[in-house]
């Protein structure tokens, strides 16, 4: 069950540089460790807005959660400079996470770049629930950015499929190649994906009509709680296209709910 949303300070217990400009913080945060994979937190940084970051790890037993982010601006640079034992002010858990996967259906987790972490949280939470084969496809610019690969490898039996733009690890190309092959083997499967918007558009397009395809989206966010209507994406409404709030209606959407143009 999702925990109640709150505003609270949580200590950083562990910090690791996982790739160039990619940092993972582990927080001691029992209230957040009740979150659903795909949900996110809004982290206070010195600027005008908070920074939305989804969970890379959720461990209800230890009460710890992970936040893995890319340093892209002043806010995330500040976050990356926090030391262990310092406190982060956090609103969360927020948004709608992934639905629990169906036990008997082949399950494919597709992650691109900094979109990989929430899929690890999903795999960790539901790896015992899914009895059908579980596949993982990870894509990134270069080998350096295929993050959390070893973490995934510990939890699945099959080899992880990796693609890179430059071919420095795995096959050269995008995640769509391996995903198309997976689909042809498992037409009744279920897919969770997270990554840059063009990748998600490709996944939605490739898997049209498949059902059980869930995408975790990113959009520039304001309040994080559904009040300001900043982080919208176009969805299918009863009377035609309508905006959905990534922070409140998402960040996880069924691929069929969204309109890709």
């Amino acid at each position: 069950m999702a925990g109640d949303v709150g505003v609270q300070d949580y200590p950083i217990v562990w910090k690791k540089n996982v790739a160039p400009d990619h940092v993972e913080l582990i927080l001691q945060a029992p209230m957040l460790a009740r979150a659903v994979p795909g949900q996110f937190v809004h982290v206070r940084t010195p600027g005008t807005l908070r920074r939305p970051i989804s969970f890379s790890r959720i461990d209800p037993e230890s009460g710890q959660v992970g936040l893995l982010f890319q340093v892209v601006g002043e806010g995330t640079a500040w976050l990356s400079q926090r030391s262990e034992n310092s406190l982060l002010n956090i609103i969360g858990p927020l948004g709608r996470g992934f639905p629990p996967p169906k036990a008997e259906r082949p399950w494919c987790l597709v992650g691109g770049g900094v979109g990989i972490p929430p899929l690890y949280a999903a795999l960790y939470a539901w790896r015992h629930r899914v009895t059908a084969p579980i596949s993982v496809i990870l894509g990134a610019r270069t080998a350096d950015y295929v993050i959390m690969r070893q973490d995934f490898a510990k939890l699945v039996n099959q080899p992880i499929e990796v693609t890179t733009d430059d071919g420095s690890l795995g096959s050269k190309g995008t995640v769509l190649g391996p995903l198309a092959r997976w689909r042809s083997r498992h037409p009744e499967g279920q897919v969770f994906a997270c990554g840059p918007t063009p990748m998600l558009a490709g996944v939605a397009n490739l898997l049209q009509g498949m059902g059980s395809v869930y995408l975790a989206l990113e959009q520039r966010m304001g309040c994080g709680v559904g009040a300001c209507l900043a982080c919208v994406v176009l969805g299918e409404g009863e009377n035609g296209p309508e905006w959905r709030r990534v922070c409140h209606d998402g960040p996880v959407f069924s691929a069929e709910e969204l309109i890709w143009r």
Binding site: L49, G226, L229, A230
Partner: protein, 319 residues
């Protein structure tokens, strides 16, 4: 010295002078899990139009130095959905409810206001006159005295509720607009709306906002807001609700001294949802320090001829 935070905006009493600003607090329920609405002086909901407005394409927000640009485009579900889905929550929230009203024609403003007449639990209406006037080529109603007066006059004839008019800062003489709407029966002035600005997305070589330009809010615009409140306060006799970059009790006191009777907090809520309650908690100490026992005692204290406290300023003292 006991401090009493009770405040009045004309005939409307508030438990304290701190309200949530329109556009930053949704339609009421969104911040419910994080904010005790019953502690706020009031809540101004997002602008409500006669029919749903879709708003602008994303990106809709962009952080700037000490500020925030937005081009939400007044997305809202329309007055019917607002009355059905959000008003019931607001009625029992234990705070003053201010409905911000938007329209593309004078008739649309009146449609919203007339529809709200049959609904209980609304304490004031706030006219957003920064909307484009479609019959006049898209220039905003708040751009000149004539059109601001016309929309105020029309709405005034539709309602007896307290009518606040929210001024745009993007005009040469905001005080002139304030005088014009006061003459047409406005009960209070809200000042200010956001300041038009823009930012460039370097990576994509394009304007950062989907709407190209947007409204700047946050601490960056506080000096502009204070200047306009100060000017308007000298031009009208009706109360002013001040807003623009407020983050602390001292900020509230500045707006009071510039001539505001109450204030609204907006952008600061995004970073700190509890900031309005923090400010309300800090106000008694702040007012005591300023030798006041109520917000009203400070209203207009910095206006010309109000007997400011002179200090001995020595040569070289730049404070």
């Amino acid at each position: 010295m006991a401090v009493n935070l009770e405040t009045s905006v004309g005939a409307l009493s508030l438990t304290n002078p701190v309200m949530a600003a329109s556009g930053t607090f949704g339609f009421g329920p969104e911040y419910g899990p994080l904010v005790n609405l019953g502690r706020l002086g009031g809540v101004a909901v997002k602008g409500v139009s006669p029919i749903p407005w879709p708003g602008n394409p994303p990106p809709r927000v962009w952080e700037t130095d000490a500020g925030l640009l937005n081009s939400i485009g007044l997305q809202n579900p329309g007055v019917e959905v607002f009355c059905r889905d959000d008003l019931p929550f607001l009625r029992q929230a234990g705070t003053r409810v201010i409905v911000n009203v938007i329209g593309r024609t004078i008739e649309e403003y009146c449609q919203v206001v007339s529809r709200l007449e049959s609904e209980s639990g609304i304490d004031a209406l706030e006219l957003n006159i920064s909307c484009p006037n479609v019959k006049e080529g898209g220039m905003t109603f708040g751009q000149d005295e004539e059109h601001a007066a016309a929309v105020t006059r029309a709405v005034r004839s539709c309602t007896t509720r307290p009518l606040w008019v929210k001024l745009s800062p993007n005009v040469a003489d905001p005080a002139g607009i304030a005088v014009a709407v006061e003459a047409e029966g406005a009960d209070a002035i809200s000042a200010i709306n956001t300041v038009v600005g823009m930012a460039i997305d370097l990576k994509h070589r394009r304007p950062a906002l989907g709407g190209i330009t947007g409204g700047l809010s946050g601490p960056a615009i506080k000096p502009i807001a204070l200047r306009i409140v100060y000017q308007v306060a000298q031009a009208v006799h009706i109360p002013i609700i001040g807003m623009g970059g407020i983050r602390s009790a001292d900020d509230v006191a500045e707006f009071l001294m510039a001539g505001a009777s109450a204030v609204m907090v907006g952008t600061a809520t995004f970073a700190e949802p509890g900031i309005m309650e923090t400010i309300i908690d800090a106000l008694p100490t702040c007012l005591s320090r300023l030798d006041a026992t109520s917000p009203a005692e400070l209203v207009g204290a910095a206006l010309p001829g109000r007997g400011s406290i002179e200090e001995d300023r020595r040569p070289g003292d730049s404070s």
